[in-house]
Structure formats: C-alpha cells, structure tokens
Amino acid sequence: MAESVIKVEKISKSFGPVRAVQELSFSVLPAACFGFLGPNGAGKTTMMKMIYGKNTCDRGCRGVMDIFGFDPRSDELAIKNLSGVVPQEDNLDEELNVIQNLMIFARFYNLPGPVARRRITELLEFLELSEKTRSKIRELSGGMKRRLVIARALLNEPRLLILDEPTTGLDPQVRHLIWDKLRHLKRQGTTILLTTHYMEEAFQICDELIIMDKGQAILQGNPRQLLRDNIEPYVLEIMDGQSIDGLVSGDLLDSVRADISHEVSRLYSSQIDDLRRVAAALHSDNYVIRQSNLEDVFLKATGRSLNAAQ
C-alpha cells in the first residue's frame, strides 16, 4: 500500500467563539481524490485553506499537518509551489484578459516565457477555452471563468490540486466536463482535495470522503462503502405530505425505517418488496421507489434541521 502524501492529525481552528474545525484528522493517498462533504459552515473551506496557509490553525494547536513532507506553518511557499488552488470565489484579475491572467500567474511561478506560453496553450485547449484567449474576464460565462481558474491552478503542473466547490452554480454540461478533466488529472497522478455539497459529485470522483458537520468529521470512507454501511439500499419517497399512519405495521416495523418530514416522507428498507407493499397500500401514485444515495446518508448523518450558517 502506498504511503499517504497528506497527513492531518487533530487540527483545530476557531474564529472567535466559533469552532470552525475541531480536531480533524485524515490522510490522503497519492493520486487519490479526497472529498470534504458537508453543509455550509461545516468547516470544509477552512480546512482547505489551512493546507495552503491562507488560514492558520489555532495558536498552540499541536496537531500534525504534513503536506507532501511540508508543514504549512513553516513551509508555506513549498506547498504553494507544488499545489494549484481553485478557491470558492473566482478571483480572476478583471483588469486583465484571459491570457494576461495566465501570463501573470506564470510569472508568480517563475516559469520562463516560452514554457509559460506553451503550457498556457495546452491548458486552454485542455479546458476548451482556446477561442477565448483574448477575451475580457467580464465577457466569460460562469462556467468559463471556473474553467479558467482551474487552468490557472494547473499552470505549475501541481502534484496537489485543491478545489473548493469547483462546480457550484454551474450547468450540468460544464459540471460533467470538469469531472472528466479531474478524472483525467487523477489518472496522470495528481492528488486532488475537493469540497462540495453535491453528493453526486462526491460519488462520481472521490475515492474517499469525509462528511463534516460543525467542524467535525461524522463519517469517513469510500463513497460506496459509506453507502453500504450507513443506509438501507432502497427508499420509498411519498410526496404531498400523504399520511403514512398505519401503513407500516406488523412485520414491516422491523424492516422499514421511516423518516417523516412535512412534505415528503421517506421509508428506508433493505427489502425492496417491503417498500412495494407499503406503496401498494397508498391512496395516490405520487410516490417513487429508488436506490438510496449519498444524499440520504448525508441527511441521516447531519440531521435535517438547518444550522445558523446555512
């Protein structure tokens, strides 16, 4: 088994009274995609920023942070030199056009001119932005800006790619395009850290993930494994707030778990036939039986109520 390239042990971070990250530990294998999943305010972004030194961990925090052999507290520049960062907000330089944005960044990495130009041409092609080389940033769509930020993060051929909600607010085509590119990079050996609140995204590209809530890890593991271990495989969703009183009774009480909310009631079971029996007894056909997914795990793990940050 390969040795981990990122080791984080018992790292904490508070902002005033808010404990954003509490004694978080995880490790990441080379060329793996590691995901942080959680509601807004769970501490995902803070953890990512601590890795490249944009946030500092608590004073007196004794935890371990080993990023490719470097500690961000003392070797910030080495970590930044081997990483590419795609922050949550597209912080492109609006005063410069597409190619100038990339050329300026290439200078930050000290890439010689010809190398930078070659690399930029490749990356614009890779992210399907070649036609936009001379466009102003303002003229780009949300999806193009996102791809440009990813291109910028890839300039120095990073071993570690840090992506904070890379596809939030993008349409499905762009999202799938970005996922394809990330899979491609992973195959080439890039290690990827990613935060998201799309379960689909986590399921599609993460080899391992942490479900976080209120700064703590709630569940951790391979997405399929998490699904297998933490949730029944089938769900019956009953819409329109139909009453399910009396539907689950007798032997079904043992095999069916109910999660009732105002509008939608969800019944979970490992036996699809049990759910079909319940559905047959409903008065309306406004229901669906489907396989459970990470979203169900997530909601089960974090609870349905909203926290203050959401």
Binding site: F15, Y52, G53, K54, N55, T56, F68, G69, F70, D75, E76, L77, A78, I79, K80, N81, L82, S83, G84, V85, P87, E89, N91, L92, D93, E94, E95, L96, Q100, I104, F105, R107, F108, Y109, N110, R152, A153, R159
Partner: protein, 262 residues
C-alpha cells in the same frame, strides 16, 4: 519523502518583482487614461497659477514663486498617486476584486504581497514626479539638471505614502472611511508642509507639528538638492524618511497581513 523540486520556489526578489509586475501590467494596460493625466495636471497648475496668482506673488523664500511651488509639486504629485493607489486601490483589490486571494494561492507570502505593493507605490511616485518634471522644465520653470533629483525623491515620497496608506487601509472597514484620510490628513499636508509657503512662517505653536509631517521632509530634501544648499538639518530629513518607511512599513505589513491570512 518531500518532492525535491518543491523548495525551488522563486527567490524573494523574484516574488517581489512579480507582485510589482502585476501592478505595472494592469497600469500600463490603459496607457492613455493612466499615462496622460500626470502630464496634464502640471499644465493645469501652470495655467492656474502662472497666468493668475503668479503675478501677485513675486518671491517666496528667495525663489520665484512659480519655481518655489513647482519644486513642491514634484513631491505632492508622488504623494497623491501613492496615497490613492494604496488606499482606494488596495481596498478594492482586497475587498471587491479579491485579487490578493488569487495571488496568495501562488508561491507568494502575504509579506511579499504588501512589500511589493509599497514598492509599486514608490514606482508610481517616480513616474508622477517625472511627469511634473518634464512639463515644468519644458516651460522653463524648473532648472535642469538640478531638477533631475525629482524622480528619486518621488520614489521616497511614494514609498512613504504607500506604507502610510496601507497602514490606514488596514483599519478601514468601508471604503468611505478614506474620506477622513484624504480630507483630514493629506489635504492639510499639502498646505502645511512647505509646498505653498515655508513652514517657518507658521505660528511657533504649530511649527513642530509641521515637522512631524512626512511631506515636509521630502519637500525640504528636494529643494536643498535643487538649490544646492546643504545644511546639517538634511540629515534629520533623510533619517526621518528612512525611519518612517521602515517603521510604518513594518506596522502596515503586520496589520494588513491579518486581513489576508486569518
């Protein structure tokens, strides 16, 4: 095993240079709108003062008044540009455009970023005093080669006001707060630093305060070189400038860093 080439990040001077270069690149992108006004301003001054006020005031401190004012203007041009760049400019990059967040993802530290910013303010000081120098010597108001000291003092002035403005910016919560800085500090400095009249004419109670203002020292330094009249007090002026840049720069870096790295 750490990757062997990770520590091959750009050396310090390279990092500072790349921050400076970013600002240079953005500034020179709009060469007409950014490069023309610095030349226009002294022309306006020439028209306004030369055609009107100049006739009424003959000499100031044994210099023709126009020339006296012109030597002061070499410094105030640098002051204004550096002050605007590192107050409104920095605040916009920090809070609205989020440019620094992007830059800090590259191998650049917050300290590099802030020092690069101060050096850029110094550079703008050079450019703006140079513009005033060109126009006013073309019209024969400033004497050459004496006036060639201007870009050098412009750099010192720009650096001083770059550092000071960044320190102010580190306290500012909304962009409107800069109004206090502009009207409360910079405008009085324009009038009470020996630019328009000698500070020796100030009431004795006010005089020491004028000695505390940074602009006083750059104006005095510049006039001394321009007139080739040296005295021991110049050491105080030079020392003030060096200490001011070091001390204010240190606190600007320390405080602004807290806004960049949380």
């Amino acid at each position: 095993m750490p990757p062997s080439n990770a520590r091959l990040y750009p050396p310090l001077w390279r990092r500072l240079y790349s921050v400076w270069f970013r600002h240079m690149r953005v500034y020179t992108r709009h060469l007409i709108s950014n490069g023309f006004p610095p030349f226009l301003e002294p022309l306006i001054f020439l028209g306004g003062i030369g055609l009107g006020l100049g006739d009424y005031i003959g000499k100031m401190d044994n210099m023709p008044y126009l020339e006296y004012l012109a030597t002061g203007l070499l410094c105030t041009a640098a002051m204004w540009t550096a002050a605007f760049e590192c107050s409104y400019g920095t605040f916009i990059r920090l809070e609205f455009e989020k440019v620094y967040d992007g830059m800090l993802a590259a191998p650049i530290t917050a300290e590099n970023l802030i020092v690069g910013e101060i050096l850029w303010a110094g550079t703008k000081g050079v450019f703006f005093s140079f513009a005033v120098l060109c126009v006013l010597s073309l019209f024969g108001i400033l004497r050459l080669p004496n006036a060639l000291i201007a870009p050098f003092v412009g750099f010192l002035t720009g650096t001083m006001f770059g550092a000071l403005s960044l320190l102010i910016t580190s306290y500012v919560k909304t962009i409107n707060h800069f109004n206090f800085y502009m009207t409360g500090l910079l405008s009085p400095m324009f009038f009470f630093s020996g630019v328009v009249f000698p500070i020796s004419k100030l009431p004795p109670a006010v005089y020491p305060f004028a000695q505390l203002l940074p602009l006083t020292h750059s104006v005095r330094l510049l006039r001394a070189v321009y007139l080739v009249e040296f005295d021991l007090l110049l050491f105080w002026n030079a020392a003030y400038i060096v200490i001011f840049i070091t001390l204010i720069g240190f606190f600007a870096v320390k405080r602004l860093k807290k806004r960049l790295i949380n």
